[in-house]
């Protein structure tokens, strides 16, 4: 018995939203680096302005994995019908937002990420993310019939340069 409905299959490819970040600050870069290297010290490239300016980057660049949208985005344009109906941590959120019935599975897990990087994010950059519905698939796993759904997002900076392209995988069971 499949958890992938016709409506879900038809939704693949839908552009779901566009989000713009606040300008990335030196403290965003420093705190991220402190957190991901803790309890070790992060590279001085991420915390010391003099070191950053002397580097090939000529200034602060962020760790590639920085999330400039954390806590609050400067703007978010939802291109999906039901953005207002999303409930924090509800496994059916991807479908709820699209205005279709979700598979009603109880648990969800971060299934993984597949990412391609473009240019580095820098202090002062404003990043725009455009997200779209990716492919659904299923597989029997140790926790039962597992549903894999993908969300594709493309990040560009204020110069239109590609920063990152991500396929995020959500597992539900």
């Amino acid at each position: 018995m499949s958890n992938i409905s016709e409506a879900m299959q038809a939704a693949v490819g839908t552009v779901t939203g566009r989000t713009t970040s606040y300008p990335i600050t030196e403290s965003d870069i420093r705190r991220w680096a402190l957190a991901v290297y803790w309890p070790g010290q992060p590279p001085a490239l991420f915390t010391d302005r003099a070191v950053a300016e002397k580097s090939i980057y000529g200034g602060f660049v962020a760790p590639e994995d920085l999330n400039p949208f954390a806590w609050l985005a400067a703007s978010h344009e939802s291109l999906i019908k039901n953005a207002g109906k999303l409930e924090t941590n509800n496994p059916d959120n991807p479908e709820i937002g699209l205005g279709i019935a979700g598979p009603g599975l109880k648990f969800q897990l971060n299934g993984g990420l597949s990412v391609q990087y473009g240019v580095r994010m820098r202090e002062g950059d404003v990043i725009t993310s455009e997200s779209a519905v990716g492919e659904y698939s299923e597989r029997k796993g140790r926790l039962g019939l597992m549903l894999f759904s993908r969300s594709i997002s493309t990040w560009t900076n204020q110069n239109g340069e590609m920063v990152k392209r991500t396929a995020g995988i959500l597992i539900r069971y």
Binding site: Y22, P23, I24, T25, E26, S27, D28, R30, R31, L34, W71, L72
Partner: protein, 165 residues
């Protein structure tokens, strides 16, 4: 437990400036994220989201200072004391306290903190006193922390009360 904590070393420490801590320049993101955290799950006032200025309780030293210096000749500043007061360097005897409590904070606010400000915190020994309690003789410390911005304007003056017994 001693008969008194008010020994000559303690009395001699009163008023001594112990440390100077300098923050990184405050960013809009610092002000915004602080406000989001302290108002969660509600949204904070728009002025904090826009980082017009920081909320009074904002701490620009969170996650670490840019610089920490000792102001005591007896202390080389190689160890950062969280509360800025190096009691060993002051010669304060090591009493066997069971517990140290935060007894409270008393703040007076001056000018607001803004994006770009660099805040300097000078900590000094305020007052010591003692009081008998049900757990024995209690040492009360009142240490002073004065924050100024890069223009020398006073941002905040705090008296932190500690209770040890």
């Amino acid at each position: 437990m001693p008969d008194t904590y008010m020994v000559p070393e303690v009395l001699a420490a009163i008023g001594r400036e112990c440390s100077r801590t300098t923050s990184y320049p405050i960013t809009a993101s610092d002000i915004r994220k602080w406000a989001l955290a302290v108002y969660w799950p509600e949204m904070p006032p728009q002025k904090f989201i826009d980082a017009e200025y920081a909320s009074e309780d904002f701490d620009p030293f969170a996650w670490g200072p840019q610089k920490y210096e000792s102001l005591l000749p007896e202390d080389d500043g190689s160890v950062i004391y969280r509360h800025g007061i190096n009691e060993d360097a002051l010669g304060i005897p090591k009493w066997d306290f069971i517990v140290g409590l935060n007894g409270g904070m008393d703040c007076q606010y001056g000018v607001r903190m803004h994006v770009g400000d660099v805040i300097t915190d000078v900590k000094s020994v305020g007052q010591w006193s003692e009081r008998p309690g049900k757990n024995g003789l209690m040492l009360m410390t009142r240490h002073v922390s004065v924050w100024t911005n890069q223009r020398g304007e006073e941002v905040k003056r705090t008296i932190n009360t500690g209770i040890s017994y």
